[in-house]
């Protein structure tokens, strides 16, 4: 836009706003457009809009307004967020507990006998948890275990138990798994089992044989005395003391303080699950320890 037309725009706008001085107005009246502007404005100013009938119009508005009224509660952001969280929680809950997978847990000093859908038997020891899928049990016999359990498996398809450090596959047999975070033993009581440890190695265990998995290393199979462990006696073979103490705590509902003791030393032997005193004596004697008992608090120290 050139300068003249810019100046003219200013004059015109000021004229519309009634801001021109008498001299400026006189000059503007000479403008070739002036007459036409006056005529246009004179005409437009005689116009009006048909007024809105606010009464009937407001009634229409009320109808429209009340059909939408306020945002329904289920459209609010708070609800959406809450619903999302609830949905996620529900999915996690179902994935964890249902989806036809069943989990059995035992508390401290509690053990459970379970019968699996194929009538295999599991003796689940204290502070352990076992989960398996009931629905497709006929297709695959898979369980996952943390803690200690004895299995008496009826003949059938592959039977696989997964624990943190490996898995055991059997056809029909009975065996025991002790599974902790860094240490596990598998002992075979009857038939034959195949153990796959986390490092990818597979070992076969015959009746009366067991093996240990400790971290990434797997021991050679060793022989053990076959007895009915799960009822009376807890048996260990070169198990770290930390594991032995964990078992004691679980079996007798006690708290063990063994800060002064080297927990990496290994224990081979057994303690009776019927008597805490006998168990404490067996372990302390064979490991050259002393213990103090204050109700359910036990403190071990080196002799």
């Amino acid at each position: 836009m050139d300068k003249d037309s810019e100046n003219r725009e200013k004059i015109v706008v000021r004229w519309i706003n009634n801001e021109l001085s008498p001299e400026e107005l006189e000059q503007f009246q000479q403008d070739p457009g002036y007459e036409e502007y006056v005529r246009i404005f004179g005409e437009v100013e005689s116009w009006t809009m048909l007024p809105l009938n606010t009464d009937s119009s407001f009634q229409q508005l009320e109808k429209k307004r009340d059909t939408v009224k306020l945002i329904p509660w289920y459209h609010t952001n708070v609800f959406k967020v809450a619903a999302s969280i609830l949905l996620v929680c529900t999915l996690v809950f179902y994935a964890t507990y249902f989806d036809s997978s069943k989990t059995v847990k035992t508390g401290v000093a509690e053990s459970k006998d379970l019968i699996l859908p194929d009538s295999s038997i599991v003796y689940l020891s204290s502070s352990s948890s076992l989960s398996y899928n009931e629905e497709n049990w006929g297709e695959e016999r898979k369980l996952s275990l943390s803690g200690i359990a004895y299995f008496d498996v009826v003949k059938g398809g592959p039977f696989e138990v997964t624990f943190s450090l490996g898995s055991v596959q059997v056809v029909g047999t009975s065996f025991e798994i002790k599974s902790f975070e860094n240490f596990a033993t598998v002992t075979c009581y009857d038939g034959e089992v195949s153990v796959l440890s986390g490092d990818g190695k597979r070992k076969r265990l015959r009746r009366g044989m067991g093996l240990r998995i400790s971290g990434r290393s797997t021991s050679s199979p060793f022989a053990f005395e076959n007895d009915n462990w799960q009822k009376e006696i807890r048996r260990f073979h070169e198990a770290p003391l930390s594991i032995v103490f964990r078992s004691l705590e679980a079996d007798f509902d006690i708290k063990i303080n063994a800060e002064a003791v080297d927990l990496n030393r290994t224990f081979t032997g057994a303690y009776p699950k019927s008597s805490l005193d006998s168990a404490l004596h067996v372990i302390s004697n064979s490991m050259q320890l002393t213990f103090n008992r204050d109700n359910n608090k036990i403190t071990f120290e080196n002799q």
Binding site: E45, W47, M49, S57, F58, R65
Partner: protein, 185 residues
């Protein structure tokens, strides 16, 4: 242009709350006409214009807790402006206006009356043919007596942009009216 208050007092319905039915009704009485006109200048259809005005007031009701009563006018025009932009293509419009009744017709000659009538129709056509932005500024200023500053605030543009639109509108009207007259002859 309008402020949302966030303190707890927004949850109490004070005497001047827009959420009170009585206040809402008063606001409608005061502003509905202006909003309807604004929409009419833009879309050229009275029924559509009223629908848009209703929609604007529904938005006000939905936001009644957030809009302070002093900011209602600004909220309404801004909302109407946006609703229009969202909904309507720039269609060709044909605007018509009523004559105010206080005319001094008696003394005029029949020729003059005819000429006046003709001029009204020509001007209506010329205004309808203005680009939408120029048309709206021109009519809001001349019919609804809104100042250029008010129009600028409502549309969220600078006052000089509004001046420019007004000036362009007047120049185009002048040219088009001349064209209409010349064609007739």
């Amino acid at each position: 242009m309008f402020e949302a208050t966030s303190d707890w007092s927004t949850f109490m319905e004070k005497d001047d709350s827009v959420c009170l039915e009585k206040n809402y009704r008063d606001i409608y009485e005061i502003h509905a006409n202006g909003i309807r006109n604004f929409m009419y200048y833009r879309c050229g259809n009275l029924q559509k214009a009223e629908d848009l005005a209703h929609e604007t007031f529904v938005r006000l009701w939905e936001n009644c807790k957030k809009v302070l009563i002093g900011k209602v006018r600004s909220f309404l025009f801004t909302t109407a402006h946006r609703l229009f932009l969202n909904q309507y293509e720039h269609e060709k419009v044909v605007l018509q206006f009523e004559k105010k009744t206080e005319s001094k017709v008696e003394k005029e000659s029949p020729e003059f009356i005819l000429e006046e009538k003709e001029f009204k129709g020509q001007l209506e056509t010329a205004i309808s043919n203005l680009p939408e932005g120029q048309r709206t500024v021109f009519l809001l200023n001349k019919i609804d007596k809104m100042t250029f500053q008010e129009i600028a605030d409502m549309q969220g543009v600078s006052i000089s942009a509004v001046h420019k639109k007004m000036y362009k509108a007047m120049e185009k009207l002048r040219r088009d009216l001349k064209g209409l007259r010349d064609n007739k002859i």
